[in-house]
Symmetry: C2
Subunit: 598 residues, 2 copies
């Protein structure tokens, strides 16, 4: 049975010592996030995740969700009781507006807690997670009445939410969408069509489910400009908020899938279901995209979360499993063999994952804080810079944290040898669960295209220039500090590669866009490495500062930070050289083969 321990100390190091959360105290909500409140939230979240959700993870995978012939869906044993604790703890709404019953705390707190939840039980965490996504859409686009009708219930967790985008013939290309919507005389719409891959589409955790559905209003233009967003509850609320009639939206079947068995992935049938327009007519895609950044950031967090829990269990096993002797001689004479953590290849694997996880967490915290700035700052310029940052970093975080997070679960599983392949230790479940995060909320190839094709050139490259300037500024600031040399030099080199790749795109992709497409995934990952490297440089600076004072006896932890950061520089970051070579090879041999020769 796998175990989990929430990385509370690491989070506090990031909030306090790396990103100075106290500097944000002038923003709404941040003044409430006092060190005591943050401590209490992290402690309570850790307890819930470690003691309640982790033990449900394996059984949730094994039992899965069950659909009865009437279309109702039962979640795995224990999920209902656990969800009650989510509701009672107010966990869905910790960053939601106070006026609708939320706690109004910074968004960064939600992303941090979501990492813990996803590490403990990713399939379970998706139920509150999707509800948060639907809440964000309702806040951004709902009418006053819609907000009043849905937000308090959803923020409380009394009702949950979903997103209905995908159809059998269209996922990425939503312009092909066929679900229809016909306006009724009372202003409502009748929605008809089939949606697939709908996470948490039907379940027994809450009495009502609020579906947000993309559909095409009768007579609307073809393509992406004719798509509208609708709110469509499973059970129609009466004017007083109590539950009324059952709506004509049902779960047609559950998908049989590789992992996240504890989450109900539904085919949803809309048979003239009643819905109401959310936002403007034919602006449905636009409405979805305004909340896409947070949703994608959340999926990136899932990749990190699985990487973290897989790492923790691999470490435990590596310390317990006795096999072979250290290359440098017997380490534990009293034991029949040494624990495998003595072996350099095992340590290399663990350090590779560890050095990613800690930097990825920093990247998430940094970007979530930026999201808070974007939503809460009163300064126009700050808001714009924050929006630029979010737009640029979102595809990077989604793509890199899920690709690498998945690869890390595979590496962690490998530490167990044959024992990693059998279900008992739970390692293979982490692999299967982590795999989906590379696919949903925009497959990672789409993230790469979004970065290269849209985010780089946007506003004349303003966001990218700001990112370059920030990293270069940091490097310059620390260039005279010998202790920082092992960090800022490699980051400078990697950033140089990223700039060369960017220049190469500018010179070669305008006339031949395939040159950008063929290099997009490498560019995405190169960007990710630079961003993670920058995070390590900042963490190293913070650790060195803390080591000088060492007020809280954090010496050993801070020294470990510096070693881990150096490992990242020496063993992970050099990849950018190979990425640059691949990108600048261009699209020639990639595009040359006739289709029939594949």
């Amino acid at each position: 049975m796998p175990s989990y321990r929430a990385p509370v100390d690491d989070v506090k190091f990031l909030l306090n010592d790396v990103f100075y959360i106290d500097r944000y105290a002038n923003l709404p909500g941040f003044s409430d996030a006092t060190p005591d409140v943050v401590d209490a939230i992290l402690g309570e979240a850790a307890k819930l995740c470690e003691q309640v959700l982790t033990p449900l993870n394996r059984a949730g995978d094994k039992e899965g969700c069950k659909r009865a012939t009437d279309g109702s869906v039962t979640t795995p044993p224990g999920f209902k009781e656990a969800f009650k604790q989510i509701v009672e703890g107010g966990w869905i709404g910790i960053s939601a507006p106070v006026e609708f019953g939320g706690q109004g705390l910074p968004m960064v707190m939600t992303q941090i807690v979501n990492e813990f939840l996803c590490s403990a039980n990713m399939a379970f965490a998706m139920y509150p997670g999707l509800t948060q996504g639907a809440i964000a859409a309702l806040i951004a686009h709902g009418s006053v009445e819609q907000k009043a009708a849905y937000l308090p219930k959803m923020i409380e967790g009394a009702w949950t939410g979903t997103m209905n985008l995908t159809e059998p013939h269209c996922g990425t290309d939503l312009g092909l969408l066929r679900t229809k919507s016909v306006k009724q005389s009372d202003g409502s719409y009748k929605i008809t069509g089939t949606k697939i891959f709908i996470s948490a589409g039907e379940h027994d955790l809450a009495p009502n489910i609020i579906h947000l559905v993309l559909a095409r209003i009768e007579g609307a233009p073809e393509g992406t400009r004719g798509i509208s967003l609708f709110v469509c509850p499973k059970i129609l609320p009466k004017p007083d908020g109590s539950l009324g009639a059952r709506n004509a939206v049902t779960c047609g079947s559950l998908e049989e899938k590789m992992g996240i068995h504890g989450n109900s992935t539904c085919v949803m049938n809309y048979d003239g279901a009643t819905g109401w327009l959310l936002g403007e007519e034919n602006r449905g895609l636009h409405a979805m995209f305004t909340m896409m950044n947070e949703a994608r950031l959340g999926v990136g967090v899932q990749g990190l979360a699985q990487s973290e829990v897989a790492y923790q269990n691999a470490v435990t096993y590596a310390k317990e499993r006795l096999q072979g002797r250290a290359l440098t001689g017997v380490k534990y004479k009293d034991k029949p063999a040494d624990p495998i953590i003595v072996h350099p290849d095992v340590r290399r694997t663990l350090m590779t994952i560890k050095s990613f996880n800690e930097a990825a967490r920093a990247l998430v915290v940094w970007t979530a804080l930026t999201a808070d700035l974007h939503h809460r700052s009163e300064d126009e310029k700050t808001r714009q810079a924050a929006d630029d940052h979010m737009g640029l970093l979102t595809p990077v975080i989604k793509g890199v944290l899920t690709d690498t997070g998945f690869a890390n679960t595979v590496m962690a599983q490998q530490m167990y040898g044959g024992h990693g392949y059998i279900a008992e230790h739970g390692m293979e479940q982490f692999v299967r669960d982590a795999r989906i995060a590379m696919i949903y909320e925009g497959a990672n190839g789409i993230q790469a295209l979004d970065l290269v094709g849209r985010k780089l050139p946007k506003d004349g490259g303003r966001a990218l220039q700001a990112f370059f300037a920030e990293v270069q500024g940091f490097i310059k600031e620390h260039s005279a500090d010998a202790a920082m040399k092992p960090f800022v030099e490699p980051v400078g080199k990697a950033l140089g590669h990223l700039q060369q790749a960017t220049m190469w795109f500018m010179a070669n992709a305008m006339a031949k866009p395939d040159n950008a497409g063929a290099g997009s995934t490498d560019y995405l990952h190169m960007f990710g490495l630079c961003a993670l490297g920058y995070m390590w440089a900042r963490m190293a600076a913070a650790a060195q500062a803390k080591l000088k004072t060492d007020a809280n006896g954090a010496g050993a932890r801070m020294s470990a930070k510096l070693v881990t950061g150096r490992f990242f520089m020496e063993r992970v970051l050099p990849e950018t050289a190979a990425q640059l070579a691949r990108i600048t090879a261009g699209a020639g041999s990639t595009m040359e083969l006739p289709d029939e020769m594949f």
Copy 2:
């Protein structure tokens, strides 16, 4: 439902045009492998795999094996009938000695057919595959009587075989092995202990199963020098060869595992089971290792096989799935969207897999031919050179073909978006099945250590020097040929990196062996890239020669070879630069962290 088409043309290109199988005609068995015979074997194997085994793969995964309370195991529907066809076709023994009923054909034919079998149905292919392994051990170490008693039945497929090494507390470190064996007055032994992860340990495909078991004879030394190998049949054969009494070896349970559900992975209980010594006392590990090269080559083939079938299905999907439009403008005006194969990132993915598969297949054919030389040549020097080659390339093929093969199944699955995550298309099964090949027959970290710690320094580096000399000789031979420049130049550069890494180990790992351990996996993969690059260079030379004559209208296929080879050089091989940087960073930051800080 996934489909499969055996790459018969590609195999013929390798045998005839790249490796000139006709030059081996002086060896025993090769003269029988005339072009007609090879054609017939490939054609029949393809038919069996495409039409019989492929359709059983999905159901085999879903149904899995079932154990009854009496310990008997039922294989998935259709497996029994399919195995009959294996027996009737004589597929287990195509390379086995004629004197025991085999066809005596070169080992390369078995490896080729095994690729087809594993692509079609890996879980199924393991039943005949493990039997071949047990046959090899019996040929190498069996007494005249043992050979007579077991080989004809096993080569026919009337009985199957297994390997019993792993115990709950020991896998890699077999010195810890506890299974006991006590000599009886009649010369037999009573074997007692528990073995785990025993593939094909119990099933209903054949009436008898011949277990080869590692155990420690009462009073034998501790550690690896006290381990002996035993042959221990499920049912004791009578002197006339008919089945006698049931032996005290039973399947205690089936492992619940990530994939290969169609293969029965058993916990085997030996309760004083009767067995006979195979080979010499206390030389059991040695006996196992003599057949390890072929077994590991076979596992490498599994990695290639899953990569190939996953690739084929990804190509089909990429040509059918309509989503979005080409970056360079609409390609199919009559369709609502272009097939996704127009997108550069999709093509990059497919080309990455394709360029690996074709080179990996070449590497397998090359090395299997070397195995034939080793076993069949009458020239001592040739045999020694072949043995050197096998020893050096075996860990590379096992480690790289399974690591990259697995990664490729993940990439192929990604092409399907959400449809790859659900079971229907079979893509997620390829991922789950391929995963085991990185673990068994020596986890890949062990392959890396074997390469760096044992194979490199062996005989003063003779094998490695021969490999370098061969590749450099080829480069030199083609250095004046402008058409070969895009191939030999990158290979030369990669080989230079490999040589630098080797030199670095020589200078830095003698005093500090951790420097070798920490770089071993990168070195393994770097070696793999060089070997695959060399295969591409040879294939390119063969393709160019064939293009000049184009006797069989192979022009389009040969041009495709050249494009695919160039892609490998431009987009895959540059990785060696990053690997070199990681290796030469040394073990410092890898080993520095105190255990408690992980």
